[in-house]
C-alpha cells in the first residue's frame, strides 16, 4: 500500500498534494498497490481524496496539531506507518513536505529521497530525482522496507480518477511536549509583492548588462508602456540594483508569462530555473554566444541601453 501525505487549505487538498496523489496512482500501477492518504485535517477531505483514487483516509484531527509543527507531524506520520505498514510514504516536495519527511527519516533511521520525478520499482528501487535546481536528473538506488519519497512539484498534472468509496478512519498519535518546540505561532497573510512577477503576462528581466540600479530605468519605462513587470537576475539583486523580492531565478521568483524579455542576462542555469516556464522568450544581449540565446524564441544582438530605448521610441511612434 502507498500512503500519501496530503496538505490542505481550508479543507481542500492543495495542488501539490493532488499532483502527488496522481503520481501515486502511476506508482501503484507498477507495484499493484492501493492508495491511502493521511492529513492533519477534517473528515470532509475524503470526498476530494476519493475523486483522486484514495480508498482509505487516515484523518488526524487532534487540536494541538492543527497549527503546523514539523516534529509533531513527523512523529504522527511515523506512528501511523508503524501501525499500517505502507510500502511507500509519499509527500509533496513542498517546504513543509520536505521538512516533515526529513524528520520522518531521522526518526526512523531511514533515507529520504526528495524531489522525485520518476520511480522504477524493481528488486531495488531506482529513483530519478531533480537535482541542480532542475538542471540535471540524478539517479539513486534505495533498498528499504519503507520508501520515504517527496515528489518534485509540477512533475505531473493533477488528474482525477475516482474510486467508489473512500473510508475515513481517525488516527490519534501519542505526542510529547518536546515535539512542539518548533510550531507555527501565527501566520501573517502578507501581500506577496513578488506575486505580480509570478502572475504577469509580460515580464522584463535585467541582468549584469543593466550595469546599475539606474540601468533599470529604460526597462521600467518599457514595462510601463507594455504593462509588464520588471525583475532582475541574482547579480542585480546581490549588487543592490534591484530588491531581492524582484529576483527571477532558482532562489527567487518563478515566472510563467506569455513573453519574457531578458535584457543583458547570460542565461545561467539558476536563472533558467526561474524563467523556463515562460511561453516565449526574447533576448537582448551584446554577446551572441550567451547561453540565453539557446533558450530563447527571439533574439536581438545589441546593447540593451540602445535597443530598449529604440523599442520604446518605435512603440510611441506606432
Amino acid at each position: 500500500m502507498i500512503l500519501v501525505f496530503v496538505e490542505h487549505r481550508d479543507g481542500q487538498p492543495d495542488i501539490p498534494s493532488l499532483q502527488t496523489l496522481s503520481f501515486a496512482r502511476s506508482l501503484a500501477a507498477q507495484t499493484g498497490d492501493s492508495i491511502e492518504a493521511v492529513a492533519f485535517g477534517p473528515d470532509s477531505l475524503a470526498d476530494k481524496l476519493r475523486d483522486f483514487g484514495v480508498r482509505k483516509y487516515h484523518s488526524i484531527t487532534d487540536d494541538q496539531l492543527m497549527a503546523y509543527a514539523s516534529e509533531a507531524w513527523a512523529v504522527s506520520l511515523k506512528q501511523l506507518t508503524e501501525s499500517i505498514n505502507p510500502k511507500v510514504l509519499l509527500a509533496p516536495g513542498t517546504i513543509k513536505g520536505n521538512e516533515v519527511m526529513a524528520y520522518v527519516g531521522a526518526l526512523s533511521s531511514l533515507s529520504v529521497v526528495t524531489n522525485v520525478c520518476q520511480v522504477n520499482a524493481g528488486d531495488e528501487w531506482r529513483i530519478t530525482r531533480s537535482s541542480w535546481g532542475g538542471g540535471l536528473f540524478e539517479d539513486v538506488l534505495i533498498d528499504q522496507d519503507l520508501a520515504l519519497l517527496t515528489l518534485a512539484t509540477n512533475t505531473v498534472e493533477a488528474s482525477e480518477s475516482a474510486v467508489d468509496i473512500c473510508d475515513t478512519v481517525s488516527f490519534a498519535p501519542a505526542l510529547e511536549k518536546k515535539h512542539f518546540r518548533a510550531q507555527v505561532k501565527s501566520v501573517e497573510s502578507s501581500v506577496d509583492e513578488g506575486l505580480s512577477l509570478k502572475t504577469a503576462t509580460l515580464v522584463i528581466g535585467g541582468g549584469r548588462g543593466t550595469g546599475s540600479a539606474e540601468g533599470f530605468g529604460v526597462l521600467e519605462e518599457l514595462g510601463e508602456i507594455l504593462q509588464g513587470v520588471v525583475g532582475g537576475s541574482r547579480v542585480t539583486t546581490n549588487n543592490g540594483w534591484r530588491a531581492h523580492k524582484h529576483q527571477i531565478g532558482l532562489t527567487g521568483n518563478h515566472i510563467s508569462p506569455k513573453l519574457y524579455i531578458a535584457c543583458g542576462i547570460s542565461g545561467a542555469i539558476q536563472h533558467m530555473a526561474g524563467c523556463k516556464k515562460s511561453k516565449n522568450i526574447l533576448v537582448i544581449n551584446t554577446d551572441e554566444n550567451a547561453a540565453m540565446f539557446s533558450h530563447a524564441d527571439y533574439g536581438v544582438i545589441g546593447d540593451l541601453h540602445e535597443v530598449v530605448p529604440a523599442i520604446i521610441e518605435e512603440l510611441k511612434n506606432s
Binding site: 487549505r9 503546523y68 514539523s70 516534529e71 513542498t94 513543509k96 521538512e99 526529513a102 527519516g105 531521522a106 526518526l107 533515507s111 529521497v113 526528495t114 529513483i127 531533480s130 537535482s131 541542480w132 538542471g135 540535471l136 536528473f137 539517479d139 534505495i142 518548533a182 510550531q183 505561532k185 501565527s186 501566520v187 501573517e188 497573510s189 509580460l202 507594455l226 541574482r234 531581492h244 523580492k245 532558482l250 527567487g252 506569455k258 513573453l259 547570460s266 545561467a268 542555469i269 539558476q270 533558467m272 533576448v283 547561453a291 540565453m292 533558450h295 530563447a296 524564441d297 527571439y298 533574439g299 536581438v300 544582438i301 545589441g302 535597443v307 530605448p309 529604440a310 523599442i311 518605435e314
Partner: protein, 255 residues
C-alpha cells in the same frame, strides 16, 4: 553568541552543466567554484549577529582540499574560524553528511561550549536534498526550521519568519537551534581587501572524514532533455526595434 555556519563548495557551472564521461560527476576542470546563494546569506547573518551581540562565528564545510577556498572567502567576509571536513570522495548522501557534521559538532562543543545557532543554506545548490539541517537538528536534539526568511535573536529565543503559501509563518524557538536560511534574508557583503588579507591568518582546522555505507546509493547524473531552441535573430542593435514591436503585436501584447 556562538554560531556555526555550514557551507558546501559547488562548481560555478554558468549556462550549461558538463558531466564527466561516466555521469558520476560534474566536469569542473575549467570551472571556478562557489557556494549557494542561501549559504551566502547564512554567512552574512552570522557575521551580523556576532557583530551585534559578540561571540564567535565558525564556518564549516565537508569537501575536498580545494574547499579551503570557500572557507577563506567566508573568513574574508568576517567569519572568525574555519573547519574543513576533508574527503576526496564526492558522493556523500544527506545522511552520511549529517552524521559527519554531527560528530564534529559534538566534539567541538565538548571543547568550546554549545553553538547557540547552527545555520545551513535552505538547500544545497547541487543535489538540493534539503535534509541535512533537519538531520543534524534531530541528532543533536534541537529545534529547527527549514528555509527561513527572517531571524531575530532576543535573549534565549530565536524569532523566526518563514514564507509559505498561506503567508508568513512566525516561530519562536528556544536556543540552541538549527536553522536553514533562504536567499534574500539579507544582502551578503563582499570580502574587503583588508578582510581577504586577514583571512589568510585566521585558523582552519582540518579533520579527515569518510562516508559510512548506509542509505541511498548515488548512481549517476543525466541531462534533463531540453528543447534547445534556435532563436530567431530579429536584428542587431537599435535597428531591430521595429521587428521586436512586430513580435509584440503577434503575441497580442500591444495593439
Amino acid at each position: 553568541m556562538n554560531i556555526l555556519v555550514c557551507i558546501k563548495q559547488i562548481p560555478d557551472v554558468g549556462g550549461k552543466i558538463k558531466l564527466s564521461d561516466d555521469g558520476r560527476d560534474i566536469d569542473s576542470r575549467n570551472l571556478g567554484f562557489t557556494i549557494s546563494p542561501h549559504e551566502e546569506c547564512a554567512v552574512e547573518q552570522a557575521i551580523q549577529l556576532v557583530k551585534k551581540d559578540g561571540g564567535s562565528a565558525t564556518v564549516l564545510t565537508l569537501g575536498n582540499a580545494d574547499s579551503e577556498e570557500q572557507l577563506r572567502d567566508s573568513l574574508a567576509r568576517g567569519m572568525d574560524k574555519g573547519v574543513l571536513l576533508h574527503t576526496e570522495n564526492s558522493n556523500w548522501n544527506a545522511n552520511q553528511i549529517a552524521r559527519a557534521i554531527t560528530d564534529t559538532i559534538k566534539k567541538m562543543e565538548t571543547d568550546d561550549g554549545t553553538f547557540d545557532l547552527i545555520l545551513f543554506g535552505s538547500e544545497s545548490a547541487d543535489r538540493g536534498n534539503a535534509q541535512v539541517g533537519v538531520l543534524v537538528a534531530h541528532a543533536l536534539d534541537r529545534p529547527s526550521v527549514n528555509g527561513i526568511n527572517g531571524l531575530e535573536v532576543e535573549g534565549n529565543s530565536a524569532l523566526v519568519k518563514r514564507d509559505s503559501d498561506e503567508g508568513t509563518e512566525n516561530y519562536e524557538l528556544v536556543l540552541a537551534a538549527v536553522l536553514s536560511v533562504k536567499d534574500g534574508m539579507n544582502v551578503p557583503r563582499f570580502p574587503s581587501l583588508r578582510g581577504t588579507l586577514m583571512a589568510k591568518k585566521k585558523p582552519i582546522q582540518f579533520i579527515e572524514v569518510e562516508p559510512d555505507d548506509t542509505g541511498t546509493s548515488f548512481q549517476n547524473f543525466e541531462h534533463v532533455p531540453e528543447q534547445r531552441k534556435q532563436a530567431v535573430i530579429l536584428g542587431r542593435g537599435p535597428e531591430a526595434a521595429a521587428s521586436v514591436v512586430q513580435v509584440l503585436r503577434r503575441l497580442e501584447l500591444v495593439e
